[in-house]
Symmetry: C2
Subunit: 325 residues, 2 copies
């Protein structure tokens, strides 16, 4: 008999649930049709998985083609692991008219029993969740949605790099993006320490890799950088404290820290990074930190001003543009 | 009607209880008599208030005159804010034969209703607590216990500096030693932020002060340095995470960090600093972090090896000895 919560294995390690709605966007009959104005992306600025979709949407200029609904960083209450539109008037998403993200999941599948997650793409002709596949969503935006990109939009997923990008996506997912959650949600010391060691070994590797190249694949920002950025942006402000990932701060790793600031200072990255929401979610939201819920203290640190400081990473690139157009 | 816990004011701020047993050591009839072999000091390596007494006891060579009983860093259970001799055989202090520190408090005062705290000096002729006045205890060791100091013991409380030392003791107590607790135990955002601002303003002041002098009062270690050290040693390993004192780490403040290492590498300081106990107490002990009690995860970080690194602070002193003998 298991007395472990959902998503916690018998050995105490965190096993993230699989995604329920994974039909790809595309041109075949069995695909979700690509159609400007039809879908609404739901996110919360707190969530790193949703953040990557919002960055790519902005960098590629998909804002007019795909609308955006924003939920609060705070869970509705301790018994409800849901996302709520409590920042909107009457607590309702103005386009879908729903209060909770779970509503589009139940509309699509009345028997849905997982956590309702963001990002989720909602078909506004039915108000049903049609895709919550955060792992592939940015790639759909990059490839299948290319007809709707802005003029001169960058290529974040160049064909000749896709194999390499996909390999890094896997590594970054397991060791870093989800690695911090494996640290924070571990229910055994052994599972926590294994995740901690894997996480910092990978960060050490990236610190070295980024010592002589500006971005993960050279002179230009790619999908890999988006995936890495969303965890780096949350690391010092949330994970170091909240998830026990405390060997060192990212700002103590000079190459990763310069790299993170370089991206932060790029349109689509910093302007979609909401540190206040991030801190509220990880430090105050009651399902994660029950001990702090009683008093709802929001940590005042860290100092965020250094994110704006110069990073001097241009010296590592032979291009004046950070994007390949 | 107040619904606040003990030691929490209506405005949500933390007000530390006053000490119950404050009779000074001394030569007058109303004083506690100074007598080698009569008293036992009870401490836990986790506790900064007790740590200062243990440092001074060792630096002055009072180990033979005052024996030492050590309690576990872990609270006995969630309902019992006590210190337990669970590291000793049969969970009993080998000299006093007690399991809990509270026993010497109740023996001295059956109606004692405060938290049983360390440090506490116990008269072994009665097994009663006779002094738990951590604020003055090191000064008693330095002055009243001088007949029992080792040969060539340093003067940690020179007469001509006492006024200045006492002023700093007050400032360091309110803003730093107890300041971190005011951050960590605050029950209102306002009380937390006020304590946070006061704490870092004072640390900024000390960072500046220690830029051109080796110790707080110049070339020699004094009682002030002991008081400051015990909080600095716990800052990155415990308070930054556990008490939300997260503007920056001490290791990010070069003068304070060099100063802390300089002291750590001095006999009596580093050899009485038990980072494992400190981390267990603040991160795992259930009365402080109920959310972590469920899983009992001990954070793996921070990296402690840098405490041994060279500090180059000798350049700020004209003396080859860190102590005034």
């Amino acid at each position: 008999m298991s007395d472990k919560p959902k998503e916690i294995s018998q050995d105490g390690s965190f096993k993230r649930q699989t995604n329920r709605f994974t039909t790809p966007f595309g041109k075949k009959e069995e695909h979700l049709p690509v159609e400007a104005g039809r879908y609404r992306l739901l996110w919360s600025p707190a969530c790193p998985w949703a953040h990557r979709a919002v960055i790519v949407r902005k960098v590629l200029g998909l804002e007019d083609a795909i609308s955006l609904g924003s939920t609060s960083p705070m869970r509705p209450n301790i018994d409800r692991v849901d996302w709520e539109f409590s920042l909107d008037e009457k607590n309702l998403d103005p386009e879908l008219g729903i209060q909770y993200v779970s509503e589009v999941y139940y509309k699509a599948d009345p028997d849905y029993s997982g956590r309702p997650t963001v990002p989720v793409m909602v078909d506004t002709t039915t108000n049903k969740a049609v895709n919550n596949d955060y792992f592939n969503l940015t790639n759909y935006y990059e490839v299948e949605w290319s007809d709707h990109h802005k003029d001169n939009a960058p290529d974040l997923y160049p064909e000749e790099l896709r194999e390499e990008i996909d390999e890094w996506s896997d590594a970054i997912f397991h060791d870093i993006n989800n690695g911090v959650y494996k640290c924070g949600f571990a229910h055994s010391q052994e599972a926590y320490e294994a995740a901690f060691d894997t996480l910092f070994a990978r960060l050490d590797e990236l610190e070295e890799r980024l010592s002589n190249q500006r971005f993960m694949h050279g002179d230009f920002i790619t999908d890999t950088d988006v995936r890495l950025y969303t965890t780096l942006a949350r690391f010092d402000a949330a994970y170091y404290n909240g998830f026990n990932t405390n060997r060192n701060l990212i700002r103590e790793m000079p190459n990763l820290w310069g790299y993170a600031r370089d991206l932060y200072q790029t349109e689509g990255f910093g302007d979609t990074t909401d540190f206040d929401s991030i801190k509220r979610h990880y430090h105050v939201s009651i399902t994660i930190n029950p001990d702090k819920a009683e008093t709802n203290i929001l940590p005042k640190g860290p100092d965020l001003a250094p994110w704006e400081e110069s990073h001097d990473r241009e010296r590592l690139s032979s291009s004046t543009d950070k994007f390949r157009r």
